[in-house]
């Protein structure tokens, strides 16, 4: 039997017996076969001694059981590591940040407690997946949408606490921002409700976020100060109609006004759907088109076109631009979407075109017009998450193919936040493509376009492969850390990362001699003096482990 670090086998045995009395012995996991389920399938240390693994796992079914578990963990100093559904692959999965911790698996706490159609909100437990919530809403024919990531297999609470994003409108894409009210088990077992939930018999827990006094919800995301056992979310009323359109522009430098105008039309709410940029000329797809590429391969490209791509630098060559102008293949194409009454979204699209028309030779096209409710049989014609429908289709990638010759075993997401401007996209491509080339990391082909999950910035997301070769993985890990540091030198930091890189990422947030990390440590010592909760998560270590270095 595995034993957590710095815990005697005797103490651990006693703790396991007490845990079993709380959750039932069938929900205490200690065998290798069971604990293998909590390995990170995309671990960059896969099968190496440094891979972070669990010593045990517990699966409570109620908040009261979580409180009792926390009290027992304090008694025996058992390090716990909380997961909801543990599906954030590429960012750590179910594996603990502090190897040897006991995973506190909240999947059995999977009740949708409330969905209010009139005020458009939901209250859920941490084991509720996006599929669960979607199913609950559909079965009751409620006219509200969820906003889900892609794939949609993860937990609603876990994704929000990890600050994940989705694909519908700006108000809902940022999953942490769209939450309203939490219930938290603190490290000493105390139960806390935030916002209006702090009022007994509150009538507005999921309707007003901050309550009165300091708003503390943020400290429970990407952290280890408590265990969130309930969380409210605002949902999107089902729109009457949906319009998806494209703006295509012919020149490399058009990227700059394209983003500038996008920012204006989105921040003015002329458009609020997920904006998505592609480059037909560089052969770089929009996120919404990726699954079609996975399934069918990229659109055919003429040989002379493909030949010209070999001569581009930071996505540009005058020859390629000239080729695009002659053949009518746009350098950039922006996908915009609109949700609402038909007459409103048509007017919004007309207004958007008026603004984008200031770019010479811009071309406009309506791609999709949908009335809701949509026949479920037709939803697969679209990128499902943009219609609030969870999907696993991202995994429908074919076998080894000419466009995917060497499928990897997984990936680590490198995802710095960069400014929302065309200049920043070009600069990030220059900086990171040069660095990746020097480090021998296969991150760039011709160019990378960022994701537009957030309203005021871009997430620049690169997949670093995880392979079966430990030496290659070691090289990629070291390269990944150098990319983090290089990003930091340019004022860019990651929005989220896997546990093995969390210290490196947090070291970039170093303003005033790491004042932020020192504040995190101060909070940790005050709230969790025994350091039992999720040690090391986002580089927040309890005092006894900080002192051991």
């Amino acid at each position: 039997m595995r034993v957590p670090p710095n815990v005697s086998a005797e103490a651990y045995g006693k703790a396991l017996l007490e845990f079993a009395q709380v959750v039932g012995k069938e929900w205490v996991f200690t065998s290798d076969e069971d604990l293998d389920l909590y390995r990170d399938a995309y671990s960059p240390y896969l099968n190496e001694p440094e891979e972070r693994i669990a010593s045990g796992a517990l699966a409570p079914s109620s908040t009261e059981q979580v409180q009792q578990i926390v009290r027992i963990a304090n008694k025996y100093r058992i390090p716990l590591y909380t997961i909801s559904t543990g599906k954030n692959l590429g960012y750590g999965g179910s594996a603990p940040a502090y190897s040897g911790s006991v995973v506190l698996d909240l999947k059995r706490m999977n009740r949708v407690l409330e969905v209010d159609e009139v005020n458009a909100y939901a209250l859920v437990e941490p084991g509720v997946s996006y599929f669960d919530l979607y199913k609950y809403i559909r079965e009751r024919k409620l006219k509200v949408w969820i906003d889900c990531p892609d794939p949609g297999w993860g937990g609603v609470i876990g994704n929000a606490l990890d600050r994940g994003g989705g694909y519908t409108t700006a108000n809902y894409r940022n999953h942490f921002d769209s939450h309203c009210g939490m219930e938290i088990v603190l490290p000493d077992g105390e139960l806390l409700r935030t916002g209006m939930g702090a009022i007994p018999n509150s009538k507005t827990w999921q309707q007003y976020k901050s309550g009165c006094g300091p708003w503390i919800d943020g400290i429970f995301s990407q952290s280890n100060y408590g265990i969130v056992t309930k969380m409210g979310f605002w949902l999107m009323p089902e729109p009457e109609a949906y319009l998806r359109c494209t703006v295509s522009v012919p020149r490399y430098q058009d990227l700059i006004p394209l983003v500038e105008i996008l920012n204006y039309v989105e921040n003015s709410r002329i458009t609020s759907g997920f904006p998505d940029i592609e480059s037909p000329l560089l052969g770089y797809p929009a996120i919404g088109q990726l699954q079609l590429w996975n399934e069918n391969g990229p659109p055919a490209m003429r040989q002379d076109h493909a030949q010209l791509l070999k001569g581009v630098r930071i996505g540009y060559s005058p020859e390629l631009e000239g080729y695009g102008m002659r053949t009518g293949i746009p350098y950039w194409r922006l996908w915009l979407s609109f949700h609402g009454p038909q007459e409103v979204i048509e007017a919004q699209w007309r207004a958007a075109q008026r603004h984008f028309a200031r770019i010479a030779d811009a071309k406009f096209e309506v791609r999709d017009q949908v009335r809701f409710p949509l026949d479920p049989a037709k939803v697969t014609a679209y990128h499902e998450p943009e219609l609030g429908v969870p999907s696993l289709r991202v995994f429908s990638i074919g076998a080894r193919t000419p466009w995917n010759p060497t499928p990897s075993k997984g990936h680590m997401w490198f995802s710095p936040i960069i400014p929302r401007s065309g200049e920043a996209i070009i600069e990030a491509n220059k900086v990171f493509s040069e660095a990746a080339s020097t480090l021998g990391m296969p991150l760039f082909n011709t160019f990378t376009l960022p994701a537009c999950f957030w309203e005021r910035c871009f997430a620049f997301i690169l997949a670093t492969p995880v392979t079966e070769d430990p030496k290659t993985n070691q090289r990629y890990r070291e390269g990944f850390k150098k990319l983090i540091a290089i990003g930091g030198q340019h004022g860019w930091g990651e929005y989220r990362t896997a546990p093995v890189f969390q210290q490196s990422v947090m070291d970039v947030y170093s303003y005033n001699n790491h004042a932020l990390q020192r504040f995190h440590a101060t909070l940790k010592d005050a709230i969790d003096p025994n350091g039992i909760l999720s040690a090391g998560r986002y580089a927040i270590w309890p005092k006894h482990l900080r002192e051991r270095g």
Binding site: S31, T85, K107, W153, A377, L392, F395, S396, G398
Partner: protein, 243 residues
């Protein structure tokens, strides 16, 4: 005499069903085929009579293999404990696997890479009950997704074979399973019929254990060149007695 077999297809997508009939030259009683894809094509297109007859022969050959180990009863070798078998209709080798499973009277699910409908309509409800082993031959991506989804209900992969086709017709098979099961997977393979062999040998569940080992061997690939990179797998619940 032609037997009639129930086939459940989903006409154009994931949410509607219609019943059709697939005729076969075999007398074997077939389990249903459930289409979980969005191709809109009839299930019968992915399993024709020729494939079914070929699969039946190959499966019979594979089942003829009898481990000489004392104490292995014939009953344990031919009993199945499966709730379903998954195949990817885009690949001939996977179709052969599915057809072989059909000839063994298993309930068969057809996908086209996407496992969304398979998960939401079949596997999630099944695994919520805590029971129901499922096997299949799919792409590694579909398999990886199902492996993660299985863990949602504490189900786990207890047997796995990675098939890789390199240049020519040589296919390498990397097997990860408990030793007894591994022996059955490795032995008695008639090279061109390897998809059917692995269907028969994998679906006959082996004794499970934590000491999974890996072994790799190669065979000629026959006409399964589109099996460029497929994985066969067996997902089961937590060992009985632990829950």
């Amino acid at each position: 005499m032609a037997a009639q077999h129930e086939v459940i297809g989903i006409a154009s997508a994931k949410f509607t069903r219609e019943q059709t009939t697939l005729h076969s030259g075999s007398n074997a009683r077939l389990g249903p085929v459930v289409s979980c894809d969005s191709s809109g094509s009839d299930v019968g297109e992915s399993m024709n009579r020729r494939e079914f007859v070929a699969a039946s022969s190959a499966v019979a050959a594979a089942l003829a293999y009898r481990p000489s180990r004392a104490g292995t009863s014939a009953e344990s070798r031919v009993s199945f404990d499966l709730s379903g078998v998954v195949f990817d209709r885009r690949f001939a080798a996977s179709r052969a696997f599915g057809t072989a499973a059909l000839s063994l009277n298993q309930r068969v699910y057809a996908i086209d890479g996407d496992v969304t409908a398979l998960w939401t309509e079949h596997l999630d409800p099944l695994w919520r009950s805590g029971r129901g082993a499922v096997a299949g031959m799919t792409t590694p991506a579909s398999f990886a997704c199902l492996e993660q989804l299985a863990a949602q209900h504490w189900f786990r992969v207890i047997g796995q074979v990675e098939h890789r086709t390199d240049e020519g017709e040589v296919v390498s098979h990397r097997i990860k399973a408990e030793p007894d099961w591994q022996e059955r997977l490795c032995t008695g393979l008639q090279p061109p019929a390897w998809p059917q062999h692995f269907a028969a040998a994998l679906l006959l569940r082996g004794r499970r254990g934590v000491a999974k080992r890996e072994v790799q061997f190669s065979s000629t690939g026959g006409s399964w060149r589109d099996a460029a990179h497929l994985t066969s797998w067996y997902i089961a619940s937590r060992p009985e007695g632990e829950i």
